[in-house]
């Protein structure tokens, strides 16, 4: 497959950019933040997303979705990165939809996917238990009790965890932390007895929560995929999330960069535009290269998820690691090159720095993915 967007994908990008630029520019994020919105995102905007079909972008057509691929989901993520728009798109339309579509029974799919497509369900995976991403170290227990399971433990950094209706919980039904065997995925009603959610306001004003599970009863019917064999499904879902977040960071990094280049052309010091100073020119040119090289890896990762899902691990790690590092470079250079004004809350550029820091951490940072690549390549 050629490493360029096709015409439909380009159209989707242009439409998304137009829509978000008009309806959810950065002022939208600011407004949610400044009024300390209880949801942390706009349900009205989400409804618009649903109407455009975005909630079902990855849901097969037989369940009412658009049945598009990861490249298309990535196109939307990238545009969300440009505008820093908070929404349940990542948690629900990307992660939860993938998990259910790939591992669900027909009944589960009919039930949940149709609700997702209709915008009636906010769903999210609950994976991390420690401050650093280490899914194989999952310790939350899923003890069998007759025809059901009892979940006990805690999850952190659960995207949209404070507003989700449905949780996709990874828990340990066998083995010990560190084993990839013995993990099971559960579809858990977020209002089930024994679950407490605490919203964790993060630096980027996007949405996450800590969840605690105490004796939470889950029916065996709500196992997603096979008992003890959840690892492969989880890895697939995480890969999808990693590539999607990488796409978002491409958007955020490039937007920060293009604002910086514009500033370099405008801002005058010592009687000339600062963009004339060669030291800044070279740094900007280097950063441009880094972003372009990252874009190639991210596009390839998304295409590989569409083409050969099970072999996407290495390229997804390359994409996520590079996106984290080059977007970080982009926002650091952006603040530095903007000088004092870049440090002010009033100016937007700092918001990119905040969101990119979160994206860098989500589903494994650059070090995590470098380690993963080294393991995959046996060194």
């Amino acid at each position: 497959m050629a490493l360029v967007l096709n015409d439909e994908q380009t159209m989707l990008r242009d439409n998304a950019r137009g829509f978000l630029g008009k309806n959810a520019p950065i002022a939208h994020l600011r407004a949610l933040r400044d009024k300390r919105d209880a949801d942390g995102f706009s349900r009205a905007l989400w409804k618009d997303f649903v109407e455009m079909g975005w909630a079902g972008i990855l849901v097969p057509q037989e369940y009412g979705g658009l049945g598009l691929g990861h490249v298309e989901a990535g196109v939307v993520m990238e545009e969300l990165g440009r505008t820093l728009t908070p929404s349940p798109f990542l948690s629900t339309a990307v992660l939860a939809a993938t998990a259910i579509a790939r591992a669900g029974t027909d009944k589960q799919k009919k039930n949940y996917l149709s609700q997702i497509v209709a915008g009636d369900l906010i769903a999210t995976p609950a994976v991390d238990e420690t401050a650093k991403h280490h899914p194989e170290k999952t310790a939350m227990t899923a003890a069998r009790a007759g025809n059901s399971f009892k979940l006990d433990g805690a999850k952190t950094f659960v995207i949209d965890g404070h507003v989700a209706n449905l949780l996709i919980v990874i828990a340990r039904s066998a083995g010990k932390p560190g084993d990839t065997n013995g993990l099971t995925l559960f579809l858990v009603d977020a209002s089930a007895t024994g679950i407490r959610a605490e919203r964790t306001p993060t630096v980027d004003t996007h949405n996450a929560a800590r969840l605690t599970f105490e004796d939470v009863n889950v029916s065996a019917d709500d196992v997603l995929g096979k008992v003890d064999a959840g690892w492969n499904v989880l890895e697939g879902v995480l890969n999808v999330g990693r590539a999607a977040v990488a796409a978002e960071m491409v958007g955020a990094g490039e937007e920060a960069f293009s604002r910086t280049v514009a500033y370099l052309r405008e801002r005058k010091q010592f009687g000339r535009p600062i963009g004339e100073f060669q030291a800044l020119q070279h740094r900007a040119a280097h950063l441009y290269c880094e972003l372009e090289v990252t874009r190639s890896a991210v596009l390839k990762a998304l295409q590989t998820l569409d083409d050969s899902f099970d072999r996407a691990g290495a390229i997804v790690s390359v994409a996520k690691a590079r996106a984290g590092l080059s977007a970080t470079l982009a926002v650091n250079e952006a603040v530095q090159m903007h000088g004092g004004i870049g440090m002010t809350d009033e100016f937007d550029i700092g918001l990119f720095m905040k969101r990119v820091r979160v994206g860098q951490e989500l589903f494994g940072d650059a070090n995590f993915h470098a380690d993963r690549l080294a393991r995959l390549n046996r060194y």
Partner: protein, 393 residues
């Protein structure tokens, strides 16, 4: 050396007797420091007491002459005092731009009247100062500043605005660069003046930073009258004072960057990331932290070496640019590593668990270090030209 050993013993004894226990814990951020001023805010009685006792001995500024309120100590004595304070964990009794910035400028350029008027109040923390340098249109190109002071006989009439005036909203007086000759080349029409922030026509507006803190203000001057006696140095020669003072500021910023956490990065990461066989579980992070600690130790030794070179007259006058550049870049690196080590916990912005997002806020604040007090780019320009004698451009 005997005299110094005696001084050391007496100093230690005095500190042990006079430094309250609460003042032997590290300062937790700028809010927790003692800033003094006309309307001082003390976080505790201990803080007030500690300031009073130290001010009485002149030890808020140990090396200034006693006649200006200082301690009149020799350099060696002052070093001993610092060592003993460090050994006991004593906080600085006073955080003050009067001490770190205006004082040195007054000592070098001020008239005898100005020194006698202002320095003692600085040492006692009675007047809190702020700095009026930058302007919205003049960032790195500081000398293109536009705030003007017109000659009105005995007084100047000051109009214009400043930006990045640290705590202008809490300061009593300002030291300020103003243009007194608009027709002269940009470096030659600037003067250095002092005035009371309560003067008619002065107003301030805090600037919220990306960290959420508001240590800086925009400051506006609308027909402010400033007595000509408050001119420091010669008319139109304020740029010399400014340059001298910027050097002091650079030294200060280069050496800053504490989060009030005395643990090493390696320790912090061991706790959050965990270890395998005694080695940090994230091996790449381990390598990055070790590389940082290598550079950080070498940098501390460089500050020490620059001090030692200064004593024997070997330090290059522009070396403060090295310290400012390297120190602030290092500090940004440290904060990035702290964020990496902290993982998602460090991303929290509010709440008790994260102490109101202390790590994230300190990380964001650190980004300003390489901008304020002359950007990293300006420091590199200075090094290239003044130290390496590369041709102008």
């Amino acid at each position: 050396m005997d005299n110094l050993e005696t001084f050391r013993k007496e100093t230690r004894a005095w500190l042990e007797a006079n430094c309250p226990a609460e003042m032997r814990r590290p300062v937790q951020g700028e809010e927790d420091a003692c800033w003094g001023g006309r309307h001082p805010v003390f976080q505790s009685d201990a803080q007030r007491l500690w300031l009073e006792r130290m001010a009485e001995k002149g030890w808020t500024v140990p090396e200034w002459a006693r006649e200006y309120g200082g301690g009149g100590l020799t350099r060696d004595e002052a070093k001993i005092l610092r060592q003993e304070m460090r050994a006991l964990g004593c906080r600085p009794p006073l955080t003050s731009f009067g001490i770190s910035m205006l004082g040195p400028a007054l000592l070098k350029y001020g008239s005898e009247e100005q020194k006698r008027e202002h320095l003692p109040k600085i040492t006692r923390g009675e007047i809190r100062w702020c700095q009026g340098y930058s302007e919205p249109g003049a960032g790195s190109d500081l000398a293109s500043l536009q705030a003007r002071a017109e000659d009105k006989g005995d007084q100047f009439l000051v109009n214009g605005s400043k930006i990045w005036t640290t705590y202008a909203n809490k300061a009593d007086w300002i030291f300020c660069l103003v243009r007194t000759d608009p027709s002269a080349p940009k470096h030659e029409g600037i003067s250095f003046v002092l005035f009371d922030m309560e003067s008619a026509g002065v107003s301030t507006k805090p600037i919220t930073l990306i960290s959420g803190a508001s240590p800086f203000c925009e400051t506006f001057f609308d027909d402010v009258l400033v007595p000509k006696a408050n001119l420091v140095g010669k008319l139109n020669k304020g740029w010399d004072v400014a340059k001298y003072l910027l050097t002091h500021e650079r030294d200060m910023i280069g050496g800053m960057g504490s989060t009030g956490d005395s643990r090493s990065l390696g320790q912090i990461a061991s706790e959050t990331v965990g270890t395998d066989n005694g080695m940090l579980a994230d091996t790449a992070l381990r390598g990055q932290i070790a590389a940082y600690e290598i550079d950080a130790l070498a940098f501390r030794l460089t500050m020490e070496r620059v001090g030692d070179m200064a004593k024997v007259g070997q330090a290059h006058p522009a070396v403060s640019s090295l310290l400012k550049y390297y120190g602030t870049e290092l500090n940004k690196r440290r904060m990035e590593l702290l964020m990496s080590a902290g993982g998602s916990d460090a991303l929290e912005w509010e709440g008790e668990r994260s102490r109101e997002g202390r790590t994230a806020r300190a990380w964001l604040r650190s980004k300003g270090n390489s901008i304020e007090g002359g950007t990293s780019e300006i420091q590199l320009n200075i090094i290239a030209k003044r130290i390496l004698s590369l041709p102008g451009a």
